[in-house]
């Protein structure tokens, strides 16, 4: 029942954006972090056929149905997380990167991330002085149930703190920073383990970058919908 086909024309030499009518699921198997339940994953496959040509392109991604919420708790000042409406006690580990010379491999990611799951952790925090981690990293976090806190490329030591104060206005090219951030979000946004984008380590990015990131990453108003029975407010997961 989870197949949908739409017919459309794409003008010559053009690039268009298309949104499918939403697909309905009754009681889908939810994706849960390590220690809270199964990491149920669905394989989403998109194909496009062109008349008088045949199949032109196809794409697939493992997807997990889950809703992750977090907010700063007034009493403690700490960030509280909920997954699928259930509060979760975060047991997290710091992650810088797999190898200082960027000799990255699926095998190593699999071993490293399974190790974190075996240590009974349920979150990995990717430090801002390292990398925006790679799809292979996120794939194994999806698979083993490690939520990911992913920082952008700002650190206190290098951007505005330290002694002497360094690069108070961050990188020289803010447009380039935002271009890279947007492209990174597009690369990683479909992974169920991605729980939180964070501006930087021990430092807020320069105001213009921070404002743009907050704006780009806010909950799309379209998903702030009220269910026709007014029983609940649907949320972008």
């Amino acid at each position: 029942e989870h197949v949908e086909t739409q017919y459309l024309s794409v003008p010559a030499n053009s690039r268009v954006q298309y949104t499918f009518p939403e697909l309905f699921f009754y009681k889908p198997n939810l994706w849960w972090p390590n220690g809270m339940g199964k990491q149920s994953l669905y394989n989403v496959i998109i194909n496009i056929d062109v008349k008088e040509y045949g199949e032109s392109d196809s794409w697939s991604h493992l997807f997990g149905f889950r809703k992750i919420e977090s907010h700063i708790d007034d009493a403690t000042g700490g960030r509280l997380f909920k997954v699928n409406g259930e509060p979760i006690f975060i047991r997290g580990g710091n992650w810088i990167l797999s190898d200082g010379l960027l000799r990255l491999s699926k095998k190593r990611y699999n071993a490293d991330i399974k190790f974190h799951a075996d240590m009974n952790l349920n979150m990995i925090r990717c430090w801002g002085g390292g990398l925006a981690e790679r799809p292979e990293f996120y794939h194994y976090c999806d698979y083993y149930g490690l939520l990911v806190w992913q920082e952008f490329w700002i650190t206190g030591d290098v951007d505005g703190r330290g002694d002497p104060i360094s690069n108070p206005n961050g990188p020289l090219d803010h447009d380039l920073f935002l271009f890279c951030a947007r492209d990174t979000v597009k690369l990683l946004r479909n992974h169920p383990s991605l729980a939180l984008w964070v501006g930087g380590n021990e430092q807020t990015p320069p105001d213009d970058i921070n404002t743009a990131l907050k704006n780009d990453l806010r909950l799309h108003p379209w998903f702030e919908t009220v269910d026709e029975t007014n029983k609940s407010v649907g949320h972008l997961s």
């Binding site: 989870h2 086909t5 794409v10 010559a12 496009i48 062109v50 409406g85 650190t155 290098v158």
Partner: protein, 263 residues
Amino acid sequence: MAEQHRKTVLDSGWLAARSTEVQFTGIQLTTTHPPTSPTSPWMQALVPGTVLGTLVKNKVVPDPFYGLQNEDIVDIADSGRDYYTFWFFTTFDCKLSINQHCDLNFRGINYYADVYLNGHEITLPKGMFRRHSIDVTDILHPDGSNLLAVLVHPPDHPGRIPPEGGQGGDHEIGKDVATQYVEGWDWIAPIRDRNTGIWDEVSISVTGPVKIIDPHLVSSFFDNYERAYLHTTTELENKSSWTAECSLSIQVIMELEDNICLV
């Protein structure tokens, strides 16, 4: 991971050489004077990987992670940028049929590069954390065999490590959009080439006239998670010169265990 079903990863058969030791241009390397084997100044290259990763693999420099060997590797601040500006070269087969299109994709270059394919030059803009996708349909060789050379340049501000070291060295690297630990931190010594290189996946993807780009999958929930919706948006690019009448389909399959699917 997201899978493009027409993707061929180019991760073998690469050669590398220091730019100052190669007397040919990118156009010559990809037409009349391609390197044919790992003979000096060319060596087997690690792609994806960095310049230093390739030098360590070929034992041109000691492994920086043993003892104080990192001290034996010249730092880019002392050697100058050209010393770590490297050529990477490979060949690949790709023969297109009518109405097919081919993209050459780089998922990560640190920090920018000049790409040469069969004598054609394309410049990849700066930034370590951005993908590059080049439509190479019109510059592939008809016989299917293609020559690719990539000249990779280090970050603009590699900085200089102060004698006392410190977190992020002199912090110059922070002026670029690149990983910041490479000038050294409390947990790692400075990375001598600042991780210059083709540090992530290189691939070619072959599609028909219309290509799927960066779909976005979003789920929304109602009635205590009993009712859920999958919202899917994608970009589509029609590279042909005629309007494409398309049927676009989405299918969702429950992944049970490793590669066993419930349809």
